[in-house]
C-alpha cells in the first residue's frame, strides 16, 4: 500500500474559530489518480478543510503533505504552485470578463496581455480537446449558463497545472444531464492520472463516482472507507446519527382543525433551477409536523415562502382566519411578514443572527422585533419601563443568563439568544409557529428547555412546523414527519412508525417500503 503515493495527506490538522473547532485532528489520505469523496452535513467542517488545503484560510496546526513532501500553505498562491486547484461552490469568476480572461487571471504569461492571450488560447484549446470541456473562449461569463460557468472554473484549475482538483458541491446547480457530463469528465481526469477531491452531501453521487469516501461530522473524521465496501445506508447513519440524549415525554396528541394549507409550492432561483419543486402540506392545530432532510434540499425556501419572506413562483398558501373561519390566500401578500403576524403566524428563523435578531442591539430591543405594534399600549410611543419589564419576565421564564435586558444580544450565548427568540415568538400568542433549526448552536441544557416548551405549545393547541437537520430532534418532537429531498417531499411517516434508519435513507433520496413503513 505504501508503493502508491498519496497525492494529498493531512495529519492532525486543526482549525479553530473562537472557541469552536471547525476542524479537529483531521487525518486524510488521498490516493494519487483516484476520485475521493468527502461527505458530511452542513457545518461538518468540509468547507473549512478545503479552505485550509487551498491556503485560503490556513490551518492552525497539523501537517500537509503533497506526494510525500511536507508543505506549508500560507496563501492561495502556495497551493496553486504545488498543483492544487479548486472549483468553488460559489464560482470565483469575474462576470464582466471573458472566459479567456478569467482562465488566465493569475497566470497571464507576461506583463502585456496580447501575447499572453495568444499562448493561452492555444493552450486552452488543447485542454478543451483533451478533456472534452467545450466553452466559448470569448464570451462574457455573465452571459453563460451555470453549467458552462462551472466548466470555466474547471478549465482555470487545469490551465494552471492542477494535479489535484477539489470540487466543492459541484452538482448543486446542475441539471441531471449536466451532472452526467460532469461525472464523465471526472472519470476522464482519473484516466489521465489526476486526483479529484469531491466534496458533497449527496450520497448517490458518492456511490456513483468515487473510489474512496471520508465522512466528516462536527469537525472530525468519523469514517474512511472504500466506496465499494460501503452503502448509502451506512453513510447516512454515520453522517446524521447522534445519540439521543434526552428522554422527553412527547405524549400523544389530539389533532385539531386544519389551519394552514399549502399546495404545489415552487420556487426557482436566479438561474431557473427549482429549489422547491412542488410541495404541498397541511398544518393542524395541536400537532407538530417535522420536516427532516439534509440541508439545501428546499427546506429553507419552504420556510421563507410559508413565513412570507419570499413569494413562490407557483403554488398557493391559505390560512384560516380565526374570527371569521374563512380561508385567506396569503401567497402573495404585500409585506408578507407583517401580514403573517397579524394572522397569528409566528416564525423562528433558521438564520438567527441574520434574520431573527439584530445582534448589535440590546435584548430589550430584540424582544420587540416583529411585535413592535403590540408590545406597548400607545401606537406611537414606546415605554422603556414596560419593555424592560417584559424582557425581564421573558428572561426569567426561560432562564436566560445573565438577566441583563440592556446587554447587547451578541453578548449572549447562542442558546440564550435562541431562547429569547422563541420566547418572543411564543409570547405573541401564535396559532401557527414555523420554526427552523431550533437548537442550532444551542447547548444541551437549553435544548431540553426548548424541546419541553415546544411540546407544551403543541398541547395548548398551536400548530407547529418544525424543520431540522438533526434527526433525533425530529424524532423526539414530531407527531408527523415529512422528509424532503431535492425540493420535494418524498415521504411522509407518522412518528410511531418512523425509524432513524428509515428516515436516514429517505434523506439520502432512497424510498422503499421499509422506509415509509405504511406503504
Amino acid at each position: 500500500m505504501e508503493i502508491l503515493s498519496h497525492a494529498l495527506e493531512l495529519r492532525g490538522v486543526n482549525k479553530r474559530f473562537g472557541n469552536v473547532y471547525a476542524n479537529k485532528a483531521v487525518d486524510l489520505k488521498v490516493l494519487q489518480g483516484s476520485i475521493h469523496g468527502i461527505v458530511g452535513e452542513n457545518g461538518a467542517g468540509k468547507s473549512t478543510l478545503m479552505n485550509g488545503i487551498t491556503g485560503f484560510q490556513p490551518f492552525d496546526s497539523g501537517e500537509i503533505l503533497i506526494k510525500g513532501t511536507k508543505v506549508n500553505f500560507n496563501t492561495t498562491e502556495d497551493s496553486i504552485a504545488v498543483g492544487i486547484g479548486m472549483v468553488h461552490q460559489h464560482f470565483m469568476l469575474v462576470e464582466s470578463l471573458s472566459v479567456l480572461e478569467n482562465v488566465i487571471l493569475g497566470s497571464e504569461g507576461g506583463a502585456f496581455l496580447n501575447e499572453g492571450l495568444q499562448t493561452a488560447r492555444s493552450g486552452i484549446s488543447r485542454l478543451i480537446k483533451d478533456y472534452g470541456l467545450d466553452v466559448p473562449l470569448d464570451a462574457k461569463v455573465a452571459d453563460l449558463g451555470v453549467g458552462i460557468q462551472q466548466r470555466v472554473e474547471i478549465l482555470k484549475t487545469l490551465y494552471r497545472g492542477a494535479e489535484l482538483l477539489i470540487l466543492d458541491e459541484p452538482t448543486a446547480v446542475l441539471t441531471p444531464s449536466e451532472v452526467e457530463a460532469l461525472f464523465k469528465f471526472l472519470n476522464n481526469l482519473r484516466e489521465q492520472g489526476k486526483t479529484v477531491l469531491f466534496v458533497t452531501h449527496k450520497l448517490k453521487e458518492i456511490m456513483a463516482v468515487t473510489d474512496r469516501v471520508t465522512v466528516m461530522k462536527q469537525g472530525e473524521v468519523v469514517l474512511n472507507v472504500a466506496t465499494a465496501l460501503t452503502s448509502p445506508e451506512q453513510l447516512a447513519e454515520t453522517m446524521v446519527g447522534r445519540p439521543v440524549l434526552l428522554d422527553i415525554k412527547r405524549g400523544s396528541t389530539k389533532r385539531g382543525d386544519i389551519c394552514l394549507r399549502a399546495q404545489g409550492l415552487k420556487v426557482f432561483d436566479c438561474n431557473g433551477v427549482p429549489r422547491l419543486n412542488g410541495v404541498s402540506l397541511d398544518l393542524y392545530a395541536g400537532e407538530i409536523v417535522g420536516i427532516a432532510g439534509v440541508a439545501s434540499n428546499g427546506q429553507s425556501e419552504l420556510i421563507e415562502v410559508l413565513a412570507g419572506l419570499i413569494v413562490p413562483n407557483q403554488g398557493v398558501i391559505e390560512c384560516k382566519e380565526t374570527s371569521t373561519d374563512k380561508w385567506i390566500d396569503i401567497t402573495a401578500l404585500k409585506n408578507g411578514a407583517l401580514g403573517r403576524r397579524k394572522l397569528g403566524i409566528a416564525h423562528v428563523p433558521e438564520d438567527r443572527l441574520k434574520l431573527g435578531v439584530v445582534p448589535s442591539m440590546s435584548a430589550e430591543d430584540n424582544i420587540r422585533l416583529g411585535s413592535q405594534f403590540t408590545v406597548t399600549g400607545s401606537k406611537f410611543f414606546t415605554s422603556t419601563k414596560v419593555i424592560a419589564r417584559e424582557c425581564e419576565d421573558l428572561m426569567q421564564q426561560w432562564d436566560v443568563r445573565p438577566l441583563a435586558s440592556k446587554l447587547s444580544l451578541d453578548s449572549f450565548s447562542g442558546g440564550n439568544q435562541q431562547k429569547m427568540v422563541l420566547g418572543r415568538e411564543i409570547n405573541s400568542n401564535p396559532r401557527i409557529l414555523i420554526i427552523g433549526q431550533p437548537t442550532r448552536g444551542v447547548d444541551i441544557g437549553a435544548i431540553e428547555a426548548i424541546h419541553k416548551r415546544l411540546i407544551e405549545l403543541r398541547d395548548s393547541g398551536v400548530a407547529i412546523l418544525l424543520i431540522s437537520v438533526e434527526l433525533d430532534e425530529i424524532l423526539t418532537l414530531s407527531d408527523r414527519i415529512l422528509v424532503m429531498n431535492s425540493g420535494l417531499v418524498i415521504g411522509e411517516v407518522s412518528s410511531d412508525k418512523a425509524t432513524e434508519r428509515g428516515l436516514g435513507l429517505m434523506m439520502a433520496g432512497i424510498v422503499t417500503e421499509e422506509t415509509t413503513g405504511e406503504l
Partner: protein
C-alpha cells in the same frame, strides 16, 4: 462670416481643451481607483494638495519642473494615506475621503500663510520658468496666416502647455494599461470580484494600493496644472469641486475610459460655452442663467444615476472593504 464662426469654434475648442485637461487627468485617476474597487472621493484632496505643493516649490526653487515633481509626490503621499486607511485598515472609504479632503483643504492655506505670509496663498509665479506656459509647436506662426488648416494647427493643436500634451498621451496610455496589460486585467478583476482574484493567488491589497497610488500620480499632474499652468500660484479651494466633477464624469462615462473622456470634454465644453453665452439671449429660450450651465454636468450625472439614460454599471465590489 463663416470665417468668424470658424474662428469662434476653434477658439472654443481650444478653451475646452484647456479646461478639460485637469478634469481628464482627475477622471482617469478616478478610473483606476474605482475600477479596483476603491471609491474615488479623495480626488479633490489629492489635486488640491498637489496644487499647493507644486505652487510652493515652484515659487521657492524657481522651476515648474520641480513643482511638478513635488506636486506629484505630495499627491501620491495623500493617496498612500488613503489606501492605508481604506485598504489596510478597512475604514469606511467615503468617510476617509471626505476627512482627507477637508484636512488638505485646511492644511494648504494654513501652511501657505505660515510659510509665505501672503494671505492664504502662495507667491505669484511671475518668472516664465516657474510655470508651464503655452508651447508653440514649429511653424505655428506661419500657419496662422492660412485660416483653414493653419488656424486649426496654430490655435488648437499648438499653443498648449506641456501638461496638456502630457495628458493627451496619458489618456491612451491609461486605456492601454487598463485593457492590454496584466496589471490592468487584475485591476478590473479585483473591482468586480476580489474573491476570484484572491483565490487565483493574487494579493487584493497590493493591487488596490497600486491602483490608488496611480490615481495619486494622475491627480498630482492635474493639481500641478491648475497651479502652474492654468493659474499662477495656489489660492485656497482652487480646485473648486473639480474632483467631484471628475467623479461625475467617470460615472457619466460608465467607468469606461473613452466614454469618460467624452464626458469630460462635454462638461468642459459646456463650461466654455457658458462663458460665451453669458447674458446672450437665445432664440426661444431667452437668456439661460449661467448658473444653470454650471449645474448642468451635475444634473446630467444625477439623471444618469437615476437610470434614465442608460444602465449605470459600477464595478460590483466598489466601496466594500475586502475582508475574508
Amino acid at each position: 462670416m463663416i470665417l468668424s464662426y470658424y474662428t469662434l469654434i476653434i477658439l472654443l475648442l481650444a478653451g475646452t481643451i484647456r479646461v478639460a485637461t485637469p478634469l481628464v487627468l482627475a477622471t482617469y485617476a478616478g478610473l483606476f481607483s474605482e475600477r479596483s474597487g476603491v471609491v474615488a472621493l479623495g480626488l479633490e484632496g489629492m489635486m488640491l494638495g498637489a496644487a499647493f505643493a507644486s505652487a510652493a516649490s515652484s515659487a521657492i526653487y524657481g522651476s515648474a519642473w520641480i513643482g511638478l515633481l513635488i506636486g506629484v509626490s505630495t499627491s501620491v503621499l495623500i493617496a498612500g494615506l488613503l489606501s492605508f486607511v481604506c485598504v489596510f485598515k478597512q475604514g469606511n472609504q467615503v468617510v476617509a475621503a471626505i476627512a482627507i479632503n477637508l484636512t488638505i483643504a485646511g492644511l494648504a492655506p494654513t501652511l501657505a500663510l505660515a510659510w509665505f505670509d501672503l494671505g492664504n496663498q502662495t507667491p505669484s509665479l511671475v518668472n516664465p520658468g516657474q510655470r508651464f506656459l503655452e508651447l508653440s509647436l514649429p511653424w505655428s506662426s506661419s500657419a496662422r496666416l492660412h485660416p483653414f488648416p493653419g488656424l486649426l494647427y496654430s490655435e488648437l493643436i499648438s499653443g498648449h502647455s506641456f501638461i496638456v500634451y502630457l495628458a493627451a498621451t496619458l489618456v491612451p496610455l491609461s486605456a492601454f494599461i487598463l485593457y492590454k496589460t496584466r496589471f490592468g486585467l487584475r485591476i478590473r478583476a479585483v473591482g468586480e470580484n476580489p474573491y476570484a482574484v484572491d483565490t487565483a493567488g493574487i494579493s487584493v491589497k497590493k493591487i488596490r494600493t497600486q491602483a490608488v497610488l496611480i490615481s495619486g500620480v494622475l491627480c498630482g499632474v492635474a493639481g500641478t496644472y491648475l497651479a502652474t499652468a492654468a493659474g499662477a500660484g495656489f489660492i485656497p479651494d482652487m480646485t473648486a469641486g473639480k474632483g467631484y466633477l471628475a467623479l461625475a464624469a467617470l460615472i457619466f462615462g460608465n467607468w469606461r475610459p473613452y466614454r469618460a473622456l467624452g464626458a469630460c470634454l462635454l462638461f468642459a465644453c459646456t463650461d466654455s460655452i457658458a462663458t460665451r453665452l453669458q447674458g446672450v439671449s437665445l432664440p426661444m429660450l431667452g437668456v439661460i442663467p449661467v448658473q444653470f450651465i454650471i449645474a448642468l454636468p451635475y444634473i446630467l450625472t444625477v439623471v444618469l444615476l437615476a437610470g434614465f439614460v442608460a444602465r449605470s454599471n459600477p464595478p460590483k465590489a466598489i466601496g466594500i472593504p475586502y475582508d475574508k
